[in-house]
Amino acid sequence: MTEMNIAQAVNAGLATALEDERVVLIGEDVGTTGGVFRVSDGLLARFGPERVIDTPVAESGIVGAAFGMAINGLKPIVEIQFMGFTYPGFDQIISHVARIRNRSRHRFTAPMVIRIPYGAGIGAAEHHSESAEVIYAHTPGLKVVVPSTPYDAKGLLLAAVEDPDPVVFLEPIRMYRAIREDVPDEPYTVPIGVAELVEEGDDVTLIGYGAMMKEIGAAFELLTASGVSVEVIDVRSLVPLDTETIIESIRKTGRAVVVQEAPRTAGFGAEIVAQIQEHALFSLEAPVERVTGWDTIVPLRRAEKHYMPSTEDIVQAAHRTLLS
């Protein structure tokens, strides 16, 4: 075990993955610089420039080339610097990477990982702050995972590398260095498609993922202190979604607050709410609450806090469900 933060855990996961010679890491400044967030620090020195590949500023080229490498027997891990820079590469992701299995009836697959730092919280404004996870979740053929702890970061990354399908691996920027915990030194995986029941309780279920787990954790403390028995679910895997864990919890608590940092309209939270009403409508004691960002572009630093769902927003939403 080594105590580490999320950035270090992803680094450790990358180092473990690179032990397999079919794995390469490719992206802008991932080598010499170790990436914008220094997540790939030291990997160039350890694995060499053929395995840790610095590319030009060409996201379409990066994703497309990684896809071609995947077709031809490699297991590329792509790093895109910020979520806002995936858009020039989005054509390759949505038109090719996500669809090859279906359109070729499994004759071709894309066993690759696309790592994307995402989310607000460092005051870096648009392109560097967005939460566009739902665009990927809405794209059939892609799996989408979002760790919120160092343990899950390494375990989900290794699961993503093993996975025969393309996995979009979202790294919450604000959480990179926010928490530390013991992470096993040996390889392990956290299964994709399994949510984590973080806390058990009876009155209300708080459901979220990524950076919002920090706010949810704080809301859990406050609500518990005020006598509410709170269940907490870290979704971890948006696609495939562990509907079972969510539904089981709602059958017990009858109340839910779904939290996402992304804009409200058609966000991933809406999918969770839809699943709940399809499978657990008659267990509900109150309408499901959504706590979300606003339907706008992430603002500059000072207003960023206002944009982001807060602990207080979550606590109030939980109380609203408890009124019924």
């Binding site: 010499t32 610095d54 030009p56 500023v57 500059l300």
Partner: protein, 322 residues
């Protein structure tokens, strides 16, 4: 070139270059003091490019910029208060504090804006130019971009459009030898950006981007071509950014000898040595002092200016409902 310019024009160029240098030096300081969050990309070292090109724009011309756009905004005479205000995210900003440092935009001055996405501006400037042609106007559009932009599909698509439709657009590459931490020696296979326009049949020149007069001469020729219906061109200005990719970048990737060489080519020093006998050192010094006063005032005003109301977080996404 210099001889054909009158003293007022020369002093105007000097004033803008000095203003940019003083402004960006201050931006570096506020970044170091962590007064403004987020990424701040400074323009020091590249002043001759903005000041060689932009003063030749007419009121009805357009241009796009990048996240490294303060220098372009200053060269276009956008008031310093409005640029500093925008960087701080205050109501006094040119976009009311919505766009921030990377997205300074001013429609009234033809500045379509800084674009945070590398190469994002090239197709847009091309389209603005195509519209001018369609509307029968002789205005031009300029797209500023860095050496790193040539790797984006958008760069190639813009050049192809511009050539195919003979758009009155001028592509201005500020080749500062680095795209983030990656040197052109590594990433620029053609050896130069100007060498890449041949297949698109776009005339190009590589020029000394530390010499404002060389930039101005190349721009005048390109504008003339565009305004007279002879299509696009590309200027590759060889220059150097003194700061990092963003403020806070440790710049370990820059060899000290290289830094020393380019500091020796400083566009302000070069301007001084080219014009001192004619304009007099004292005049140039006085302008430097006066722009410093302007910069100080602009930042003091920006610091003191009010923040946009927090309710504005959700405004300006769609047409306001009357």
């Amino acid at each position: 070139m210099i001889r054909s310019l009158d003293n007022d024009t020369l002093l105007g160029l000097w004033e803008r270059m000095a203003r940019i240098r003083a402004f960006e030096t201050r931006v570096g300081e506020i970044a170091a003091a962590k007064e403004v969050a987020g990424y701040l990309h400074t323009y020091s070292g590249q002043e001759a490019v903005a000041c060689g090109v932009i003063p030749l724009l007419r009121d009805d011309d357009w241009f796009t910029s990048t996240y490294r756009n303060h220098g372009h905004a200053i060269a276009r005479d956008i008031p310093l208060d409005e640029i500093a205000g925008e960087i701080y995210g205050k109501v006094t900003g040119v976009c009311g504090g919505k766009g921030g440092s990377m997205h300074v935009a001013d429609q009234s001055r033809g500045m379509i804006g800084g674009m945070g996405i590398v190469a994002g501006g090239l197709p847009i400037a091309t389209g603005a130019a195509l519209a001018s042609k369609y509307l029968g106007r002789d205005s031009v559009a300029v797209a500023f971009f860095g050496d790193g932009a040539v790797h984006q599909g958008a760069w190639h698509e813009a050049l192809e459009f511009a050539s195919l439709f003979q758009c009155p657009v001028v592509f201005v590459c500020e080749n500062n030898l680095y795209a983030e931490t990656t040197a052109v020696d590594y990433h620029l296979l053609a050896g130069s950006v100007s060498a890449m326009t041949g297949p698109y049949q776009i005339p190009s020149v590589q020029i000394d981007g530390m010499d404002v007069f060389a930039v101005r001469a190349a721009t005048a020729a390109a504008f003339e071509r565009a305004r007279t219906g002879n299509g696009p061109s590309l200027i590759e200005a060889m220059t150097y950014r003194y700061g990092g990719q963003y403020e806070g970048d440790t710049q370990t990737y820059k060899p000290p000898t290289e830094v020393a060489y380019w500091r020796g080519q400083d566009p302000l020093l070069r301007f001084r040595s080219d014009t001192a006998t004619r304009l007099g050192m004292a005049t140039l010094d006085a302008i430097e002092q006066s722009v410093q006063v302007e910069v100080d005032a602009a930042f003091t005003a920006a610091e003191a200016a009010p923040w946009p109301d927090i309710s504005e977080v959700t405004t300006d996404v769609y047409t306001p409902i009357a």
